[in-house]
Symmetry: C2
Subunit: 151 residues, 2 copies
DNA sequence: ATCGCTGCAAACCCTTTGCAGCGCA
DNA sequence: TGCGCTGCAAAGGGTTTGCAGCGAT
């Protein structure tokens, strides 16, 4: 019931769930858990490749699928066709995504406390372990676009 | 300054902005504005194709780019690699996206009033015309997954 | 010795882009 | 008439899948 996931604990759980513990899996597991926040498949691939050059993207994707199903990571698609993976115990902030320039700004978690409670009570939706992804227009783009007409 | 966008008004604005009014553009414009909420490129393509079989996806994508830049639609990537387009005057609700089953539930807009105000004041971020996309776990999946171990 | 897992390559899906011709202004 | 726009086809980029062989249990 601890809130800190270690490679050892996760590995044991995986084994108990019937998954095999392969070197690749352990390396990918270590890579994602050591992430401060979120990682992409490519980052995991590069990270593992430095120690194990034979690794393939298929294994990264399939392993992340396992880790997600096992409950150790969540995956979030913020758009742009690049999925991000998060250790479930490290979801401490969220994202403001500008639709104009693609800029992603981080927002602290506290601002969502009230909303999260409402969502849970009214919709039964548990947003606790994930990122909020809020689309809109950032300050810079709003100012720029109000000055530049087409042509 | 009206909050209702019609094909006629939009067409005139586009022309004033220096864009050409082609039949394809007008058909796509009509298709997206007639949408109750959001449409995908494919839905627009199929809609227009029924009247103008020669239409191409390139034209749909490029037209939506124009309409976005002109301020008549917003585009949101909720993940899954499929962009959704919205008439700016019809963004009346938002989405709860379940990371496990992909189910998308709608949430009314009012629940976000306080949050939106905070985001604007503290981050200068304008989320007024867009969708919120909130990732998490829906009630059904939370209940199901607490009963089914792997294997 | 199983059979789950891996690596490779190819397939997929949506979106973007190059290019030659068309047609709006 | 000029050049912005279109359609076609091909390319792109991230992710998924089929398959044969490998290796954790």
């Amino acid at each position: 019931m601890s809130d800190t996931i270690t490679v050892e604990k996760a590995a044991q759980s995986l084994q108990e769930m019937g998954y095999r513990l392969t070197p690749q899996r352990l390396m990918i597991l270590e890579a994602v858990l050591s992430s401060e926040d979120h990682v992409t498949a490519e980052e995991l691939y590069e990270h593992v490749k430095s120690r194990y050059p034979h690794i393939s993207f298929s294994t990264v994707y399939r392993t992340m699928e396992v880790l997600r199903d096992a409950g150790f990571v969540t995956q979030t698609d913020l758009g742009g066709g690049r999925v991000q993976y998060h250790p479930v115990d490290k979801a401490k902030h969220h994202h403001l995504i500008c639709q104009s320039c693609g800029h992603v700004e981080e927002v602290s978690d506290e601002i969502f406390a009230g909303l999260r409670k409402d969502l849970h009570q009214k919709y039964g939706f548990d947003a606790l372990l994930t990122h909020f992804a809020i689309f809109g227009r950032c300050r810079v783009c709003r100012e720029r676009e109000s000055r530049q007409p087409h042509r």
